[in-house]
């Protein structure tokens, strides 16, 4: 059956359409088509639809017969010409793809080489002339056709060029047409350098197709998936959108069904598309053969083909990802031909290449890592709780808001309405599905996505979002995204539980906790290392290679849901006031909000809904389960696809909506490069937390009283300002009317603000209250610069003063010799006092005011309330209480403290700049140099500004004179802090303006002028103090500008090896509709943003590197360590060690040739072509 020699003509069949995609100038050897054909033939045994398989073969036979008639060498000649032509076509077509935005669609303005097709084949003929006696002198039909095509093309070209020059001539049109030209040129040039970016290959349209295929397969509808793939495959233009991954997805779908002939067909299609089958395709074929029990000959041929393609069987088991029983099936197939085959299951040990961590990973001596204070059993039990929570997708917890009386009636009403809405939503959803299912089109629709879950679940999701809709409405986009994400999460969880992945994760986790638990001996592995080891020995990969749905798909699906809600949800207009006339009215409305020149679609609820909801005052809150902290240590990150929650999909790198380049970059980079980053994230996530109950209780009591703006506890809406009544009574002069209106608007605005603040607090406090007796974990991920964040969005240690104050380390450590001193110093740091004093002086001050501290701890709300007047009152209060407890314990050094002590970087961005530029003055001012007392860069700048001001005042500058006595640290602080992060003069002026407005007695009429003047002086002062910084900033900015101008996005690699790309592109608005939308192509980088954001992003990537280094080394030394960017937390006992590690690592980091490395990287990445 696998005898290619019996089909000699097939070998000659070069599949005309795609030869150009093969190697230049030569006929590509039809590699896999033999396999494909044989697979098609093999349809005759044990297959369902032999007719299709045969059809394929007959077709190619006909074509080859045709070829034979015209003579082999003649065909070659024509084909070669055709290749040339297609190549030319190809380039210009690609070019045109990039200029999609321009009105000149589908046409090329790049002139291909003038008629090369005519001459070169002739030369070839002579070369190949040995084989045939004489070339036929009259041109064949093929040649004629070719010429004609060329001519038409040429004509089109001319026409276009004319049009183009005509369009360019009137200067008025120049604005639009010129950039297009440049863009085309740039794109064309880039393409010819062969730099087809992978990100273009799998852009969002590709992700949509992949998601669609996967969803169809999830529904066991490979036919539907096949139709979709065929829809794209059939047309030449659409086929270009497909990549190997799409075919691969479908192959696995058919493999699962054991339809070998379908897989054969797909191999044919791959060949047609000019794509090379990858390892995963072969895995699918073999799996299918294993499942269908294919004869040895077929399998042998397949393996042979695999090897011809440069793969081997070991790779098949090492690099491919298997779900379910796929691995066993492949093994089964291989053992038919090689009964003794045993895959090598050695996880290849890759060593981190970063010089910074070579020692850390080399582990010459056995190392010991800290354990958690839990037993194996406890951790396993916790895992089960977490799994259960994630599997149920939502968590309902009780709200901390005190219940209002008399809500029975309203609640009944709400229940009745909800069940009514549920019924009608269910019906309409079903109708819409039937409607969609009946539409005859091979194109993608939303239909499969509406079948992934039970109808009821969609309705639940919709009703849930209805209940949480804020009274002022929500932007359509946000709402749709939220709904779409909920559906996606639910589907992802369901998929995992169905594929038995859940059981496997559980098995691995049960083993994994041996590493963490105090009662297990296992040690000297990092969490990731041990998990990888367990996973490898378990035989199957826990990774799922499914693609995450693109942003646009979630929005589309969500929009469909919103549309249903708007159409279906109705209420009687007199439901709250029966005296009115009864009318069935919609609850949700589409409105537009206008911001600047943009219009934004909004969904607004009828006030009746808001009123019902608020009077029902439900005492529970429902959250998605990812909102809650985890109940067990997070699953360690082992790859960009796997980690954090058990079932919920989480991104390793957060990204702006729709950006996929980060994920691609992470996938492409060598896995060992990510090890240190993953390990740092795992370490941050493994820190257990608990609630500081006394502080939480005080906060909740204030929250349920009237709130307190001073203590940042948002007051309830009942405290909102009401429009003054006097104006209502006014006689209605136009003036009073319009000012009334203005006041109303102001009140409404204030309400909206208050509502969102209040809800945010309610969520945080309710979650904290729910966790009050539990120990919990915050899984971490990072942003595109490597800055780490806890995943749960509302309640986490990155939050405000209030949330930080209620968090404690679950683990306690004795204070030790210096712990109490650190507690006291920490308290003074939280107050914001004594900034200029040394630590010793701060400690002395704390002792001085000990009476106040103890009073605050003992009588927080009734005493002298010293804590309330500090910078961070709630954390200060918590600290006061801790100090009191420690002092009163019999032996303070043995007192077990759970309290996190913070060590804050002093203007961390400037520290990195100063270190990079080896700026001595700058470094001193940000405490990088030893000094007697802490230096304060803000005061330094303020001093410098004041000096400039004095000079100007003497020279008679009015504004400098006015500012006399107003320049303080506070005025310049924010601007200095943010200048490193790229604040512009414009933004800086606004910041200073805000500060000046706060100063009583500053003449308000000078505010604009003064802030304008001050921001200039701040910039000048910084220039004076940080000379190296300035130069580095300029170099970074200029490099980024040039890179962006050349049509690239700025990329770099952190010293730890984390690849980074700036996701800023020119915004291209897409109109979202439920019916379907057009994918966005590759986007042009936004030069301004790329340029302005590069210096701060680069610095952020350095501070995150420093943090990760510190985290890893602290872990090595047995410390509890977490971070809020440049603020590091640990126990009082270990502050000294942490500080030491922090300093060592900072020095270590800056001993690296960071800027040289960056320069080398950029030269290599962006400049090699021109050199």
């Amino acid at each position: 059956m696998w005898q290619p020699s019996s089909h000699p003509v097939v070998r000659q069949d070069p599949l005309l359409g795609n030869t150009a995609l093969g190697g230049p100038g030569q006929l590509p050897l039809p590699r896999s088509d033999t396999l494909a054909k044989s697979l098609s033939f093999s349809g005759s045994w044990g297959s369902r639809s032999p007719a299709r398989g045969w059809g394929e073969v007959t077709h190619s036979c006909q074509r080859s017969v045709k070829l034979r008639i015209w003579g082999v060498w003649e065909a070659t000649r024509v084909l070669e010409a055709r290749i040339k032509q297609l190549q030319a076509d190809n380039i210009s077509e690609v070019t045109v793809d990039r200029v999609d935005v321009a009105p000149l669609r589908k046409s090329s303005f790049r002139c291909p080489a003038p008629s090369p097709a005519g001459k070169e084949p002739a030369a070839k003929v002579r070369e190949g002339g040995v084989s045939s006696s004489g070339a036929p002198s009259q041109p064949s039909r093929w040649v004629e056709k070719l010429k004609k095509e060329k001519w038409i093309k040429h004509k089109r070209q001319l026409k276009l060029e004319q049009k183009f020059s005509a369009a360019a001539s009137p200067p008025g049109a120049e604005r639009t047409s010129l950039p297009v030209l440049e863009q085309g040129k740039a794109a064309g040039a880039k393409e010819s350098q062969g730099q087809a970016k992978a990100s273009n290959k799998y852009g969002s349209i590709q992700l949509i197709i992949m998601s669609y295929l996967e969803s169809c397969l999830f529904l066991h509808q490979p036919e539907r998936a096949q139709q979709c793939l065929m829809f794209y495959h059939r047309s030449h233009a659409r086929r270009k959108l497909l990549g190997i991954k799409m075919y691969d997805i479908l192959m696995h779908g058919w493999a699962n069904k054991g339809s070998l002939n379908q897989i054969g067909r797909l191999f044919v299609m791959l060949e047609e598309a000019g794509l090379k089958p990858n390892l995963s395709c072969y895995a699918a074929a073999l799996e299918c053969m294993g499942r269908a029990g294919a004869p040895a000959a077929v399998i042998k041929r397949c393996v042979q083909q695999l090897e011809e393609d440069g793969f081997n069987l070991d790779e098949l088991f090492r690099d491919a990802v298997y779900e379910d029983d796929k691995r066993e099936m492949v093994l089964k197939a291989i053992r038919i031909i090689e009964p003794n085959f045993q895959p090598l299951s050695q996880p290849h040990p890759e060593i981190c290449t970063s010089p910074l961590l070579r020692d850390f990973y080399s582990k010459e001596k056995p190392v010991s890592y800290p354990k958690l204070d839990f037993s194996v059993c406890e951790l396993r039990e916790r895992f089960r709780q977490q799994l259960e929570m994630e599997a149920s997708n939502t968590v309902t917890i009780s709200s901390v808001e005190s219940a209002k009386p008399l809500t029975e009636q309203a609640r009944e009403l709400l229940t009745a309405l909800r069940s009514e809405w549920r019924k009608s939503l269910l019906q309409t959803l079903r109708e819409s599905k039937i409607h969609m299912a009946n539409r005859r089109s091979w194109q993608m629709s939303l239909y499969p996505y509406l079948c992934l879950l039970e109808d009821k679940e969609y309705v639940d999701i919709m009703l849930q979002s209805l209940s949480s809709l804020p009274p002022q409405g929500e932007s359509l986009l946000v709402l749709a995204k939220e709904l779409g994400t909920k559906i996606y999460n639910k589907y992802a969880v369901r998929k995992k539980s169905r594929s038995r992945l859940m059981e496997k994760i559980q098995k691995v986790y049960d083993e994994y906790v041996q590493l963490l638990a105090k009662d297990a001996q296992l040690d000297s592995y990092l969490p990731r290392e041990y998990w990888e080891k367990l996973e490898a020995s378990s035989g199957s990969s826990l990774l799922s290679k499914d693609c995450t749905w693109p942003h646009i798909l979630m929005v589309q699906l969500g929009t469909h849901m919103v549309e249903l809600l708007v159409q279906v949800i109705k209420v009687q207009s007199n439901i709250l006031n029966p005296s009115l006339e009864a009318k069935l009215i919609p609850v949700l409305y589409h409105v537009y909000s206008f911001r600047s020149s943009r219009q934004i679609g909004f969904i607004k609820p009828h006030p009746i809904l808001t009123q019902i909801l608020s009077s029902a005052a439900e005492t529970t809150l429902t959250f998605d389960s990812f909102v809650m902290p985890m109940l067990c240590p997070p699953v360690p990150w082992t790859s960009p696809h796997f980690g954090a929650y058990i079932l919920l999909p989480t991104k390793l790198m957060r990204c702006v909506e729709g950006a996929i380049q980060h994920q691609l970059l992470l996938e492409e980079c060598p896995r060992s490069n990510l090890h240190s980053v993953l390990d740092a994230l795992n370490q941050l996530g493994n820190c257990p937390w608990k609630i500081n109950q006394p502080v939480l209780d005080i906060i909740i009591s204030i929250f349920n009283a009237k709130g307190s703006e001073k203590l940042s506890i948002p007051p309830p809406l009942s405290e909102a300002p009401k429009p003054s009544v006097a104006l209502h009574l006014g006689p209605g002069t136009p003036w009073s009317k319009s000012s009334l209106k203005r006041e109303l608007t102001q009140c409404r605005k204030k309400m909206v603000e208050m509502y969102s603040l209040r809800m945010d607090s309610l969520y945080k406090l309710s979650i904290a209250n729910h966790m009050r007796d539990k120990v919990f974990w915050f899984p971490h991920n990072m942003d595109f610069r490597g800055r780490t964040y806890p995943c749960p969005p509302y309640f986490n240690h990155l939050g405000s003063d209030v949330t930080r104050a209620i968090l404690l380390f679950a683990e306690g450590k004795p204070l030790g010799a210096h712990g109490l001193d650190w507690l006291k110093i920490h308290l003074i740091n939280l107050t914001g006092l004594k900034k200029k004093n040394s630590l010793r002086e701060r400690l002395a001050y704390a002792n001085e005011i000990m009476e106040e501290i103890l009073d605050s701890a003992d009588n927080p709300l009734t005493g002298r309330k010293w804590w309330m007047d500090t910078d961070e009152p709630w954390q200060a209060l918590a600290c006061c209480m801790e100090i009191a407890k420690a002092l009163r314990s019999p032996d303070p050094t043995a007192y077990i403290s759970h309290f996190p002590i913070h060590q804050d970087g002093s203007c961390n961005g400037l520290q990195h700049y100063a270190a990079l530029g080896r700026d001595v003055i700058g470094a001193t001012s940000v405490n990088l140099m030893p000094c007697d007392s802490p230096q304060d860069v803000y005061s330094g700048v303020a001093r410098q500004v004041e000096e400039f001001r004095k000079q100007d005042a003497q020279e008679g500058m009015k504004v400098a004179q006015v500012l006399d006595g107003f320049i303080s640290r506070k005025v310049v602080k924010q601007t200095v802090m943010t200048v490193v992060y790229g604040v512009t003069r414009y933004g800086g002026r606004l910041q200073i303006e805000k500060r000046l407005k706060e100063i009583d007695g500053f003449p308000q009429e000078y505010i604009w002028e003064a802030s304008h003047y001050l921001v200039q002086q701040v910039f000048n002062s910084l220039k004076e103090m940080f000379s190296g910084t300035r130069e580095i900033q300029i170099w970074l900015t200029e490099s980024a500008r040039l890179i962006a101008k050349s049509g690239n996005t700025v990329e770099w690699v952190t010293p730890l090896g984390l690849p980074i790309v700036q996701p800023y592109h020119r915004a291209k608005s897409t109109v979202v509709s439920a019916k379907g939308s057009r994918g966005t192509g590759s986007l042009k980088p936004d030069t301004v943003k790329q340029k302005n954001a590069f210096p701060p992003n680069f610095i952020h990537s350095l501070d995150s590197t420093h943090m990760m280094l510190t985290a890893l080394h602290c872990h090595r030394r047995g410390l509890t360590f977490v971070s809020v960017h440049d603020c590091y937390w640990t126990h009082a006992l270990t502050v000294d060690v942490m500080n030491q590690v922090c300093r060592e690592q900072f020095v270590e980091l800056h001993s690296q040739p960071i800027l040289q490395d960056l320069s080398r990287f950029m030269l290599q990445k962006y400049c090699t072509h021109s050199l």
């Binding site: 009137p170 200067p171 008025g172 207009s573 009318k583 069935l584 009215i585 919609p586 409305y589 589409h590 409105v591 537009y592 909000s593 206008f594 911001r595 600047s596 020149s597 219009q599 607004k604 009828h606 006030p607 136009p734 009317k737 319009s738 209106k741 109303l744 608007t745 409404r748 308000q1004 009429e1005 000078y1006 505010i1007 604009w1008 002028e1009």
Partner: protein, 293 residues
Amino acid sequence: GRFVYLPRPPVLLIAALTGCGPGVLTRTLLNAGARVVALESDRAFLPELQSLENSLHGQLEVVHCDFFRLDPLGCGSMKPPAMYSEKLFENLGILAVPWTADVPVKIIGFLPQKKERNTLWKFIFVMYERSSIYRYGRIELNMFVSEKEYKVLTAKPGELRSYQALSVLLQTACEIQLLHMLLPNDHLCLVRMTPRRHLFTGGMTTTNSSTFIHMVKQCLAKRKSKLIDRLNSWSPDSGSKILRELEIPENIITGNLYPEEYRRLFEAMEHSKEFSQSWLYDEVLENNRNINF
């Protein structure tokens, strides 16, 4: 440079040929014997203008002022070229006249190219509010605008691409007249926008006009949507009644309604009990004028 010109019906001329000094336009006006006030925003051009001013004995007056940044939203002391219109007009001795009186001042100038649209919106807001320069009466604007913007200004119902809220609002408020197409290459149109004498008769007042503006904006946000759906969402079931009263076809899309019809619709809605009591109408159509100019 921007010029103000005050002859019998006084004319404010803003000939913003920045970079060319006093342009041809100014010369022409001066030669025609008009009294011109030059509003110059660029300090660099002031000396040249001032020397011209001195040589003309009162026919030309030069003010350092950026006309398009009159009455900024901020408060406090204003430094030229930013300025309050009140101060400018006071200094020039221009007195307010009733809306129905003749045009008190004419203004000629170039709309700033980069923010044509925003500037036009600003004029619309102040015109319907009768604030800023329009406190002094029906100021006539003669502006050079791009052809693209001109098409929007004068778009007719049914031209769904260019018929926008801006078109309806401006056509309702002004008579729009194309005076001149400048330089075929530039495609600049000199457009005269004279506020209508009858703008504030009938139902329209300076107080409710902001509702009108927002009604039009909401309607024309999607020009292919049905008018009746919009109306019904503001006041359920009232749409067909009001359309019948006004003899407007029920199935009309918002992009097919004439500016006059929008005005009549608005007036009818203001008088109708259903609409003026509707929550959404009130709330959505409130003037949230938070546009950054």
